[in-house]
Symmetry: C2
Subunit: 283 residues, 2 copies
């Protein structure tokens, strides 16, 4: 990859932001990578890990020369941060985010961002982990991973193209969806699994934990994710999550009925549907 | 480990049976390991992988000199196979199994096994995988893993001790439970997670699968397990599984309510409970 950007700013240098920095620097895709955050200790660690080339706690100063700013923050903070970035960065520059919801964020930014400033295009790299912090950042986190980019009718095509090129340069497989299409899809493929993993872990009697084997550990792994981050995600995408939950509960009821009625055929059919869907994806 | 057994017979040389054979041979814990099965191709593969030292499709001949026979078969077949083994093996020998349910199996064997024959003691090594077959067998499959041994009041202590020593020799961490205690515990820690993973996979719209990331993949992994094996397990343990499912559905309903009522505090509380339970176990 040739150098594509002179200055990229990353707001929030944790797992995602740190991995973006590492990937940009390893691929030589940016001359300068500015890490912006509130806690100096995290910024120092990001610098020590060479995830960024410079750091600052001053958001406005940090983005002042950025052609691209990526906001890696809890979803509720993204619109506010985007507006601050837009007011401080060059007009021709683009802003994107890495938030797990899109409809609310894109709407908020559209209604708050004054015209004639930098352009915001929503993104969601599907490459999280239950682990947090720059200590777990990896240059290859986005390699082969899907990144959803969510332009609206108001998004200038050129800005969308630049954001898509950015994620492609990091190894991502870019998929373009509308913000609401995105939210419906991730409700089923990411937010519901989180809710289910959490409910399964919470409902397991503590006394039985010593018997937990790989099955329980795999199925509940993401329940270890950050509580406040996920509270915000589930809350923002509540309509779609509730819809996905309803579909899940229907299948769960069918399982319950098949067990109650000792209906082996129905049980076989249900297990086969689950296996078929799971087998459709390699691991 | 010194040689503890002259002859161990393994009925069913797949992932579990094959791993028992590999572990016995690698640790030099048995002079002869006889692999018994119906399909010669599987037996040949077990022999080629050195999981067993000899093979036969003749169950009665295979166990005729076995001091210990381990039955690694779908749960519904275990009582019948145990009785055939008991009728053909030396009277002083012990028989165990690796089935995922225990109450039904132990009851069936107790009612069917004539007195004065070999002793059956139920076992359940909590070391499965969604993968099948001797090709995935590993000598270290039981290392550090919990193995539940389920004697009854009728079990001679010496037979129980020998079975516990057997699993310890393979690296297992032996836990003694009654058959019904075992079934209640694994309903919550193993059978319900399987049902939930399967229901989650089955309820995911196919169109969204391309967006699946590690969260969905982890949470649904065990749904790829063998359908017929799991149909038998869930069916045999239906009372305890239904009870565990009810507990799970209660938590799920609390999540649903918290989302519907936009109750951030309740949502935080639920996610915290899940995280706390999950964080209690390292990975």
């Amino acid at each position: 990859v040739a150098i594509a950007w002179n200055t990229v700013a990353i707001v929030g240098v944790g797992l995602i932001g740190g991995s973006i920095g590492l990937a940009l620097r390893e691929r030589g895709a940016a001359r300068r990578v500015v890490g912006i955050g509130r806690r100096l200790a995290s910024l120092d660690e990001a610098l020590a890990r060479r995830a960024v080339s410079e750091i600052t706690t001053d958001l406005e100063a940090g983005v002042s020369a950025a052609e691209l700013t990526v906001i890696c923050a809890p979803v509720e903070q993204i619109p506010g941060l985007s507006c601050r970035v837009a007011a401080a960065c060059p007009r021709a520059s683009v802003i994107t985010d890495a938030g797990s919801t899109k409809a609310w964020i894109v709407e908020q930014v559209a209604s708050q961002l004054p015209p004639g400033q930098a352009t915001f295009v929503g993104s969601h790299p599907l490459a999280g982990s239950e682990k947090q912090g720059v200590a777990h950042a990896r240059a290859d986190l986005f390699e082969g991973r899907t990144v959803v980019v969510t332009p609206t009718v108001a998004t200038p095509p050129e800005a969308c193209r630049r954001i898509e090129q950015f994620w492609s340069a990091l190894g991502g497989r870019v998929v373009r969806l509308s913000p609401s299409q995105h939210d419906q899809a991730v409700a089923a493929i990411s937010h519901l699994p989180h809710l289910v993993a959490s409910a399964l872990a919470a409902s397991t009697p503590e006394a039985y934990l010593p018997l937990a084997a790989t099955g329980w550990l795999d199925t509940t792994r993401i329940a270890a994710g950050d509580v406040e981050l996920w509270r915000q995600i589930l809350g923002q995408n509540r309509a779609s999550v509730l819809q996905a939950l309803e579909q899940f509960e229907k299948v769960l009821n069918s399982f319950s009925l098949a067990l109650q009625q000792q209906d082996d055929r129905a049980l076989t059919e249900l297990l086969s549907r689950g296996k078929q869907r799971r087998d459709a994806l390699a691991d």
